[in-house]
């Protein structure tokens, strides 16, 4: 039990990129993970087991200790404060959180509304700006909200800006830049310290190299 490392990760692109980093760091992962519908994937040669979870849920698995390590976006870490160690910036899936709205947006005095998947981050941001707004939580397709009149503005993830443009929205302010982070459960961080420190160091070296390349 003390030897195997369990890693929770979002499905899809982030998993591919993170697995790639691990391979470059010398972990013996299979070239391709065949069945994409599986939720638990084993890499016995590397002594690693992966859970594939929803991005928002990764810190939950890690905080409860069912996964030793997780790969989670900074956006999720900001929204869902969990008691886990955030040890390494993996510098993958770079993007940022921004405020956006229709081009003809004019501030109104009557209860301005902001739709977001990140109600906590949005609340905190507008509080800092000294602006009174009401937050409406949505779970996806946030761009729809200003188009149909649910909210005046949105707070959402922007990577290329393509989705905003396609829907006729413009970006107004950047809130914070986001990358994926390596997070660690506090108990695993002590009980499996040798293996985890080794993984962090090897990954850090790869990231450093890629950054300067």
């Amino acid at each position: 039990m003390r030897d195997q490392i369990t890693i929770a990760m979002p499905k899809g692109r982030i998993f591919e990129e993170a697995a790639d980093l691990l391979r470059k760091a010398g972990f013996n992962l299979p070239e391709e993970f065949d069945d994409s519908r599986k939720l638990i994937v084993d890499a016995p040669e590397a002594g690693i087991k992966f859970f594939l979870a929803k991005p928002m849920d990764v810190p939950t698995y890690v905080e409860h200790g069912v996964a030793d390590i997780g790969v989670a976006g900074k956006d999720v870490m900001l929204e869902d404060e969990r008691d886990v160690y955030e040890v390494l910036d993996l510098k993958i899936s770079e993007c940022y959180l921004a405020v956006a709205g229709l081009p003809d947006y004019e501030p109104t005095d009557i209860a301005p509304k902001v739709a977001s998947k990140y109600p906590k981050v949005a609340t905190e941001y507008f509080k800092q700006q000294g602006e009174q707004v009401e937050i409406i939580q949505l779970n996806g397709s946030i761009e729809l909200a200003p188009l149909v009149g649910l909210a005046d503005r949105i707070v959402d993830i922007v990577s290329t800006g393509g989705t905003l443009r396609e829907n006729g929205l413009v970006e107004m302010e950047e809130i914070v830049s986001i990358t994926s982070r390596l997070i660690v459960n506090p108990v695993s961080y002590r009980l499996k310290d040798a293996r985890i420190d080794d993984m962090i160091e090897r990954l850090a070296a790869v990231i450093e190299e890629e950054g300067t390349a």
Partner: protein
């Protein structure tokens, strides 16, 4: 009137059913026996305390306190931790008693409105406080006793991480100068946000040597050799004192034979603000949350007008029970089933069995609807039903 809530309980509240109750009691008894043998005397304090005294001193976040008003309008809190109440008692009711005081407790604590499962709002904690002893032997005793109680509870695989608040403070202050700027860095450590810590360090107007020293703090995790690494980073008055404390503690724990469970972790910064020196946490291999924690709080008692150095630990009994993972089997029970003609005989039988130490349920036949369902729960059933054989012969 609205329907009473049958199944729901307030958020974070749990029922303890008999099987679990038995397990928890046996854990607790084994642990309390150790604590008592080390000379710690148990005390109990009220569940309700004044917000202004205990609420403020406890360093549990305000929004985690259960608050209510008494008839005079004072704000009360349900006890969120036991260290502050013991400090209060040590400085008031026990103020004539000579120091050091060794006190222990096993009590429910209340922390409100946790957002999800696995975090009860009421949980039991077992712990000790050693008040008025500033020696490294006192720190060692408390950690060794914690290890012994965890052992007695049946936890086989555990680890204790030890840090020192004084060292972290000295290092940060030595490099960044002001308390304010050290505070920012300490907050990153406390939030376990090492990425943020590293980014902040990079942004500071410092020499690269100083930046490396700040980053070096994150690597001070491991065996005794890490204390030498720590000394290389900073060795001014306060830091040297902290490292000396840790060296001495290590020696004490060697004597107690606890070092196999020990690792140093100099960036361990605890939630409780009142800690001033050595701090520690205990971890079990089967659970993702720390099971126990403690440390030195040399300034808390001064708030209650009896300045005294103190140290202590607390074990979360709910988490420990989970980490051990097995519930004990119920004790074997015997059923004595009777009808009223033979009540006297049944009573005598039950009494004799109980005197032998057996658990005996005495049940009147007419009080049960489904006798078969009842009897199948028992390993042995003794019946005293109908007329007694003796009477039969007499009648004949």
């Amino acid at each position: 009137m609205s329907q009473p809530f049958m199944f729901e309980k307030p958020i974070g509240m749990r029922d303890t059913l008999p099987a679990l109750y038995g397990t928890k009691r046996s854990l607790r008894e084994r642990m309390e026996e150790k604590v008592e043998k080390w000379g710690y005397r148990p005390i109990k304090t009220p569940s309700l305390e004044f917000y202004d005294t205990i609420g403020n001193a406890s360093a549990i976040l305000d929004q985690q306190l259960f608050k209510l008003l008494d008839q005079e309008g004072n704000t009360l809190v349900l006890r969120p931790d036991m260290t502050a109440p013991i400090a209060r008692v040590a400085s008031s009711s026990l103020k004539e008693e000579p120091l050091p005081l060794r006190l222990s407790y096993h009590t429910p604590l209340f922390r409100a409105q946790q957002r999800e499962g696995g975090r009860p709002a009421e949980f039991e904690q077992l712990g000790v406080e050693l008040v008025g002893d500033k020696s490294a032997s006192a720190d060692g005793e408390v950690i060794a006793l914690m290890a012994e109680t965890l052992h007695a509870a049946g936890l086989k695989d555990f680890q204790i991480a030890v840090g020192h608040i004084g060292y972290v403070n000295a290092l940060l202050k030595d490099i960044v100068g002001s308390e304010d700027r050290a505070g920012v860095l300490r907050r990153y450590l406390y939030e376990k946000n090492y990425v943020g810590y590293k980014q902040h360090v990079k942004s500071l107007p410092l020499s690269s040597i100083d930046k490396d020293r700040l980053l070096g703090l994150l690597k001070l995790r491991g065996g005794r050799a890490k204390l030498d690494d720590a000394r290389a980073l900073v060795n001014n008055g306060e830091a040297a004192k902290a490292l000396e404390d840790l060296e001495e503690l290590y020696e004490v724990l060697e004597t107690f034979e606890v070092t196999p469970y020990l690792s140093f972790d100099l960036n361990l910064v605890m939630h409780m603000e009142y800690y001033t020196g050595i701090v520690f946490e205990g971890y079990g291999s089967k659970l993702g949350f720390p099971l126990s924690s403690g440390g030195r709080y040399d300034e808390l008692l001064a708030k209650f007008n009896r300045p005294a150095q103190a140290t202590g630990f607390g074990v979360r009994m709910d988490l420990l029970t989970e980490a051990i993972g097995e519930t004990e089997e119920n004790r074997r029970q015997t059923l004595v089933l009777f009808s009223k003609e033979r009540r006297k005989e049944a009573l005598a039988d039950a009494k004799a069995l109980r005197a032998e130490g057996q658990v005996v349920v005495l049940q009147d036949m007419t009080g049960v609807e489904d006798v078969d369902r009842l009897t199948e729960q028992f390993e042995e059933v003794r019946s005293f039903i109908g007329r007694s054989p003796k009477e039969d012969t007499r009648d004949a």
